[in-house]
C-alpha cells in the first residue's frame, strides 16, 4: 500500500481559473491525508514532470496522484516506474470543461474527485510484473495457404514455428484446384495456384518444424508457455510454444442437405468442389455419360444465405463459379453457361473478373430462385427458376448442374463440447427424473459436437475455442482482429470467416503478428489487447473461497481452471485483466494491485454526501472505461455541460461491477446509481465480450438489495453507450438526476 501519497494539482487548461486550487490543496492535505500537495500551472511540462520525479527520487512519496486532465491524456509525460503507484484525477474533461467555472457545485465535484483519487492511491499496491519463462515459438495448426503463410511470416520474423497438418501433404484445399481466380492485375483470367513454391520454402525453412499426417492430442498451459502434445505415426511429440495460430481452413457444406436443389437427383448434379476436383483431374465431363457438357447451370448460394442452412455468405462461391465457367468455356467454345444468383458478389478488383466473364457471349447471368431441379426422360436435367430478371419463370435444360455451396469452418465449438460433457454426466447423475430427461435432451442436441475438438485444450471451459456466430471462432473482427476468446490463440483464414486465398494470406500475416505480439507481451508480463501493456493481474485469497465456480464460469477468456473441488486455478497469462471475476465473486476475494472491491468501495465512501436539508442529490456513475468513460471525455472536450451531482468511477469493464458497491453507495445516502456499459447482444461492442451482459444479469441480484433497503428500483439505471455517442451523455445524466430529484432524497442520508 502506498503510504506517502503526493498530490499534484495542475492549474493549466483552464483548471486554475475555474477552481479554487487552494481549497483543493487543503482537501487533499487535511481530509485525504496526502503526504505532500503541490500545484503547478503546467504540470505536463518538463518542469512539472521533473517536480514529481524529484519527489519520487527523494523518497518523499511512494505514490502519485495527478489531478489534471483525463487519464487517457498525457500518458507519456506522466510515466513513472510502474512499481510506484500512479493515480489520475480527471479535473479537466470531467470537471472544468463540463461544468460552470467558479461554481460551488463544480468545486465540490473537484474536491470529491481529489478525495477519491487519493484514497484509491493509498489503497493501491505497486505493480510487480509476472516473470515466467516464455517460449518464443508459434504453433500453426493447418498447412494450407493460411497456415503456410503464417508459419513463414513468424519464422521470417525470427520465431521458431511448429506447423501441424493432418494430411500427408501441405497445401490444403488450394493444392487440389486446377487454377485460382485472379489475385493480381488485370484480374481478368484465372491464374495457376503458385502454392508449390511456398510449400517448398516452408519445408526447408530452418526455423519451421513441419509435422504432416499429425494431430494435436493435448494443449495445456497458458500464453507464453503452452505445452502441446503432437501425435505423429503413433508417437507423441511434446512441444512448448508461446502462441498459437489456428489455420484449419474450411470444409464444404454437406451436399446431402441440398436435395431441394437436385443434389442426389442424378449423377449430373455436382457441387462446386466436386467440379473443381473433376477439373483438376482433366477435362470436365458429365458424370453420367462421360460427354463434354454443352449446357451447364450454376446455382449460386446453394444452401448459403439461407436461414435453414448457412445463413451467411461464403464470399468466394461467385468467384469460383466465374472461374469454373471459364474452364467450361475454354474447353468447349459452344458450351452455354448459366448462372442463377441471389446477388453476384465480387468485391473490389474481382469485379473486373466478373466483367470479363460477362463479356463472354455464352455466359448467361440472372438473379432468380431455383424452384426445382429434375431429371428429364432424355437424361438431361431441367432447372426451373422463378422470380428471374426475365420477368417470369424459366426452364433451362442442362447437361450438368453445379451447386455453388458454401464454406463451413473447420473449427470446434469448445463450449458446446463442454456443455455436452456436462449434460452426459448429468444424464446419469442428475438428481431428479426431470433433470436427467432435460440433460438427455440437451446431450442429444449437442451430439454433433462430440469428438470435434482440434486443440484438445485443457481449459475448464471446454477443449477448444468458443465460437461467436455460425460456428466461427472469431471475436469482434472490426475491433479485435484475429482475436479469439482464448488469449494468444488467434484465428486466421477461412476458419475465422469465409474468405478467398488473397484475404487468407493477409489474415495469416495479421494473425502471425498478433501471435508474436502476444509472446512479447508475455515476456514483459503485460496483458494483451484490449488492456495492452497492463502489468496488474488478479490475486485470489483462496482461504475464503467457497467454490461457487462463478469466476471460473464467467471468465470470458477461460483463464481460470478448477481443481476437483471447484477452487479456481488461475492461469495469469491467459488473463486479460477485465476484472469480471472480481465482479462475480460473492466473497470478494479477487483483487488486482490497483483495482479491487475495497478500493472502489473506499472511493465511494470518500464521496461527501450532502445532508437531506441541502437538497443536493449525489449520484454515483460507474462507467465502462473502454467506451463510456472516454465518451464522457469527448463530451468534455466538446464543452457539453451536465449536472454536477454525478461522481464518476471508471470500471475496467462493467462486468467487473461488484454489487456490493451499489449497496455501499445507497447505504451511504447517495441518491442514485447510474451504470453505463457497452452495447451487448447480437452486435456487441463489449471489449470483454460478455461484460456488460453479465452486469445486466447482476442487476437481478441488486433488486433484492433494493427490496431489503426498501428503496425504489428506479434509483438504479443501466445504460448502453457506444464510444461515438458522447452527445447522448449530458441528456442521459441530466434526465437521470432529474428523475432522482423528483423521487426525493435517499432516506438513508446521514446514517
Amino acid at each position: 500500500m502506498a503510504k506517502k501519497v503526493g498530490v499534484y494539482l495542475c492549474g493549466g487548461c483552464g483548471i486554475g481559473e475555474a477552481l479554487n486550487l487552494a481549497r483543493l490543496e487543503k482537501v487533499a492535505q487535511r481530509e485525504a491525508k496526502a503526504a505532500l500537495v503541490k500545484t503547478h500551472p503546467f504540470l505536463c511540462s518538463p518542469e512539472g514532470v521533473q517536480l514529481i520525479r524529484d519527489d519520487l527520487a527523494a523518497g518523499a512519496i511512494d505514490g502519485v496522484v495527478i489531478a489534471a486532465c483525463s487519464p487517457r491524456m498525457k500518458t507519456e509525460a506522466f510515466q513513472f516506474d510502474p512499481r510506484q503507484v500512479l493515480e489520475r484525477v480527471n479535473l479537466r474533461e470531467h470537471v472544468v470543461w463540463s461544468h460552470p467555472p467558479k461554481d460551488e457545485d463544480t468545486q465540490a465535484l473537484a474536491e470529491d474527485y481529489v478525495r477519491m483519487g487519493v484514497v484509491k492511491a493509498q489503497k493501491a499496491e505497486p505493480l510487480e510484473p509476472l516473470a515466467e519463462e516464455i517460449a518464443r515459438a508459434v504453433l500453426v495448426v493447418g498447412g494450407g495457404l493460411t497456415g503456410l503463410t503464417a508459419a513463414l511470416e513468424a519464422a521470417e520474423a525470427g520465431y521458431e514455428v511448429v506447423l501441424v497438418e493432418k494430411e500427408a501433404q501441405l497445401g490444403g484445399f488450394l493444392a487440389g484446384v486446377r487454377e485460382r481466380f485472379p489475385a493480381a492485375p488485370p484480374y481478368l483470367e484465372p491464374a495457376p495456384d503458385g502454392l508449390q513454391a511456398k510449400i517448398q520454402t516452408v519445408r526447408y525453412h530452418p526455423k519451421i518444424r513441419v509435422f504432416t499426417s499429425a494431430r494435436i492430442v493435448r494443449t495445456e498451459g497458458q500464453p507464453g508457455a503452452f505445452q502441446v502434445t503432437i501425435e505423429k505415426d503413433g508417437q507423441s511429440v511434446p512441444v512448448r510454444v508461446g502462441a498459437i495460430v489456428m489455420a484449419t481452413g474450411w470444409k464444404p457444406y454437406d451436399p446431402a442437405r441440398l436435395a431441394h436443389l437436385g443434389y442426389g437427383a442424378g449423377p449430373d448434379v455436382v457441387t462446386n468442389v466436386e467440379l473443381e476436383r473433376m477439373a483438376a483431374a482433366g477435362p470436365i465431363r458429365r458424370p453420367s455419360d462421360g460427354r463434354a457438357p454443352s449446357s451447364v447451370v450454376f446455382i449460386q448460394c446453394a444452401g448459403s444465405r439461407d436461414p435453414d442452412h448457412l445463413p451467411y455468405c461464403s464470399s468466394v462461391c461467385c468467384l469460383v463459379t466465374l472461374k469454373q465457367a471459364r474452364y467450361l468455356r475454354r474447353e468447349n467454345p459452344e458450351a452455354a453457361v448459366y448462372v442463377i444468383y441471389k446477388d453476384m458478389r465480387t468485391p473490389g478488383q474481382y469485379e473486373r473478373f466478373y466483367r470479363a466473364a460477362q463479356d463472354d457471349p455464352l455466359n448467361f447471368f440472372t438473379k432468380g430462385e431455383v424452384k426445382s431441379v429434375a431429371r428429364q426422360a432424355d437424361g438431361r436435367m431441367a432447372v426451373r427458376v422463378r422470380d428471374t430478371l426475365l420477368g417470369g419463370e424459366i426452364e433451362i435444360p442442362a447437361d450438368l448442374v453445379v451447386l455453388a455451396a458454401g464454406m463451413v469452418p473447420n473449427a470446434a465449438d469448445g463450449e458446446a463440447i463442454r456443455a455436452l460433457e456436462d449434460a452426459e454426466i448429468k444424464r446419469v447423475k442428475g438428481e431428479t427424473e426431470a433433470q436427467r430427461a432435460e440433460a438427455a435432451r440437451k446431450a442429444e442436441q449437442l451430439r454433433s459436437h462430440k469428438g470435434t475438438e482440434i486443440l484438445h485444450l485443457s481449459y475448464r471451459q471446454g477443449p477448444d475455442l468458443p465460437t461467436l456466430r455460425y460456428g466461427f471462432p472469431d471475436s469482434h473482427f472490426v475491433c479485435f482482429p484475429y482475436e479469439t476468446r482464448r488469449t494468444a490463440i488467434y484465428a486466421a483464414g477461412a476458419m475465422r470467416a469465409p474468405m478467398d486465398g488473397a484475404h487468407a494470406e493477409q489474415d495469416a500475416q495479421g494473425a502471425a503478428l498478433k501471435a508474436i505480439q502476444a509472446i512479447e507481451m508475455a515476456v514483459r508480463g503485460q496483458a494483451v489487447h484490449p488492456r495492452a501493456g497492463d502489468l496488474s493481474y488478479p490475486s485470489f485469497f483462496l482461504q475464503r473461497c467457497t467454490q461457487c465456480k462463478r469466476c471460473t464460469e464467467e471468465c470470458p477468456f477461460g483463464a481460470l481452471d478448477e481443481d476437483e473441488k471447484g477452487t479456481p486455478k488461475p492461469n495469469l497469462y491467459r488473463c486479460r485483466r477485465c476484472g469480471i471475476c472480481l465482479g462475480a465473486c460473492p466473497e470478494r476475494i479477487i483483487s488486482f494491485q490497483n483495482y479491487s472491491v475495497d478500493m472502489i468501495a473506499s472511493m465511494i465512501k470518500a464521496i461527501e454526501v450532502p445532508g437531506e436539508e441541502e437538497e443536493k442529490p449525489r449520484v454515483l456513475a460507474l462507467m465502462c472505461e473502454n467506451d463510456a468513460y472516454p465518451a464522457l471525455d469527448i463530451a468534455g472536450l466538446n464543452r457539453l455541460h451536465y449536472d454536477a451531482s454525478v461522481r464518476v468511477i471508471p470500471l475496467r469493464c462493467l462486468g467487473s461491477l461488484n454489487i456490493v458497491w451499489i449497496a455501499d453507495a445507497l447505504s451511504r445516502g447517495m441518491d442514485g446509481v447510474l451504470l453505463i456499459g457497452c452495447k451487448w447482444g447480437e452486435n456487441y461492442q463489449c471489449h470483454f465480450i460478455r461484460g456488460s451482459e453479465l452486469a445486466d444479469r447482476r442487476m437481478e441480484n441488486v433488486k433484492e438489495t433494493l427490496q431489503r433497503l426498501r428503496l425504489e428500483r428506479e434509483r438504479i439505471q443501466v445504460a448502453e453507450l457506444a464510444l461515438d455517442e458522447s452527445w447522448r451523455l449530458p441528456a442521459l445524466i441530466n434526465e437521470f438526476v432529474e428523475k432522482i430529484r423528483r423521487m426525493g432524497p435517499n432516506p438513508y442520508k446521514g446514517f
Binding site: 459452344e334 452455354a336 448459366y338 453476384m344 466478373y354 466483367r355 460477362q358 463479356d359 463472354d360 457471349p361 455464352l362 455466359n363 448467361f364 447471368f365 440472372t366 438473379k367 426451373r384 430478371l389 426475365l390 420477368g391 417470369g392 419463370e393 424459366i394 426452364e395 433451362i396 435444360p397
Partner: protein, 364 residues
C-alpha cells in the same frame, strides 16, 4: 401462372446484335438504372433493362416482338448514365436493326439490304433501269430550254415510281403482317386500328421525343426530316397524278405553290439530316456504334435531297451536267423507295404499329 419459358439461346443472334452496334451488350449487370432514367419507358413495362437481358440471353423471338424497341428514340439518356458502360441505347438500336431484318419479307431482300456486299447489286438495278429509260424510251420533242423530260420522259418515270411505291406497300404489308403475328404471339393484343390515330398524332408532334434529355438536337433533326418527307410526299403524289393526267407539266414555275412547298420540304430534310449526322458524329461512341445499316439509309436520304437540289440549280443555270446529277437523283430515290421495308426507313412503319399496338401513343 404463365408457363415457364424454355431457355434456348439463339447464339447467332447474340453475336449479330453485338456485331450490329450492341458491342457492349454483355456488360449489363441488370441494375436497372437505364429503365429508371428513361423518360419514355412506361411505368408498367419499363425498358430497356429487360430488353438488355433478353438480348444477352439470346431470346430472339421475345425481344424482337417487343414494342418497347420502337418506343425508344435513341436519345442516349440510358447510355449516358449506365454505370457499366453497356450503352443500352446502342443495343436498342441494334435490336431495331435485327427486328427490321427479322420481319423482312421476302427474307432475302432483308438480308441483301443488310449486307454491305450486296450494295453493288442493289444500285445496279436502278442504274440499269434509268440508263435504259435514258437510252431507249421514246421521248417527246426537245424543248428550247434543257429539261429533264428531254432525257427521262416524265409520265414513264411517274408510272415507274407509282409502280415501285405500290410494290413497296405490298412488301411493307407482308413484313408488317409478320410483325403483327409476332406481336400477337408475344401477348400484345391491343387492336392496332383504333390506336393508329393517336400514334400518328404522336409521331407528327414528336411529343414523347421531347422528353429525352441527351441529344436534344436529335428531336429537331428528326422532326424536320419527317415533316420535309411528308411535304415531298404530298408534292410528289400531287405532281405525279397531275402530270400523268396531263393537268400539270414539269418543270413547275419557281413561284408555283407546289414548287415552293417542295423546296421548303427539301431544305427541311437537308437541315434535319445534317443535324442528325452532326449528333452522330459528335459522339465518338455513337459514331462507332453506327453501322452500315444506319449509314445506308441516312446517306441515301441525304443524297436524294442533295442531288434534287443540285439538279434543280443546274437546270436553272442550264448546264448539261444537270442530266447526270438527275440520273443519280433518280437512282437514289428508287433505292430509297424500293428498299424502304428493309432499311432504317422501315422504322417509320414499325414504330407507328408498335405505338398503336402497345397503346403508348394513347398518353401512355
Amino acid at each position: 401462372m404463365a408457363e415457364a419459358l424454355l431457355v434456348q439461346p439463339d447464339t447467332a443472334f447474340i453475336r449479330r446484335v453485338v456485331a450490329a452496334g450492341g458491342g457492349d451488350l454483355k456488360k449489363c449487370m441488370q441494375c436497372g438504372t437505364c429503365s429508371a432514367v428513361c423518360e419514355l419507358a412506361p411505368e408498367d413495362a419499363p425498358f430497356p433493362r429487360k430488353q438488355m437481358l433478353e438480348a444477352q440471353w439470346g431470346l430472339k423471338e421475345r425481344v424482337l416482338a417487343d414494342p418497347a424497341l420502337w418506343l425508344c428514340h435513341y436519345c442516349g439518356d440510358c447510355t449516358a448514365r449506365c454505370p457499366r458502360g453497356a450503352r443500352p441505347g446502342d443495343v436498342m438500336g441494334a435490336l431495331r436493326r435485327e427486328a427490321v431484318r427479322h420481319f423482312a419479307a421476302p427474307r432475302w431482300m432483308g438480308a441483301a439490304v443488310a449486307s454491305p456486299r450486296a450494295v453493288v447489286w442493289l444500285f445496279l438495278l436502278p442504274v440499269l433501269i434509268f440508263a435504259a429509260i435514258a437510252g431507249w424510251a421514246p421521248k417527246g420533242p426537245a424543248t428550247a430550254e434543257m429539261e429533264f423530260a428531254n432525257l427521262f420522259p416524265i409520265p414513264l418515270l411517274e408510272a415507274l415510281f407509282f409502280g415501285v411505291s405500290g410494290l413497296v406497300l405490298v412488301l411493307f404489308g407482308w413484313s408488317l403482317s409478320r410483325y403483327l403475328r409476332a406481336l400477337r404471339a408475344a401477348g400484345y393484343r391491343a387492336a392496332v386500328l383504333p390506336g393508329l390515330a393517336p400514334a400518328l398524332r404522336e409521331i407528327l408532334a414528336h411529343t414523347r421525343f421531347a422528353r429525352c434529355g441527351q441529344h436534344r438536337d436529335q428531336r429537331l433533326g428528326h422532326l424536320l426530316t419527317l415533316w420535309g418527307f411528308l411535304g415531298l410526299g404530298v408534292v410528289g403524289t400531287a405532281v405525279g397524278i397531275g402530270t400523268m393526267t396531263g393537268l400539270m407539266r414539269t418543270p413547275l414555275a419557281m413561284g408555283s405553290p407546289f414548287k415552293i412547298l417542295a423546296n421548303l420540304a427539301a431544305a427541311a430534310i437537308l437541315a434535319g439530316v445534317l443535324l442528325l449526322l452532326a449528333v452522330r458524329l459528335r459522339d465518338p461512341a455513337r459514331r462507332a456504334a453506327g453501322t452500315y445499316f444506319d449509314w445506308f439509309f441516312l446517306l441515301i436520304l441525304a443524297g436524294v435531297v442533295a442531288t434534287g437540289i443540285a439538279a434543280q440549280i443546274l437546270r436553272l443555270i442550264q448546264t448539261p451536267a444537270m442530266y447526270a446529277v438527275y440520273f443519280v437523283h433518280l437512282v437514289l430515290i428508287f433505292a430509297l423507295f424500293l428498299y424502304a421495308p428493309y432499311s432504317k426507313f422501315a422504322h417509320l412503319v414499325y414504330r407507328t404499329v408498335a405505338l398503336a399496338a402497345s397503346g403508348a401513343g394513347r398518353g401512355g
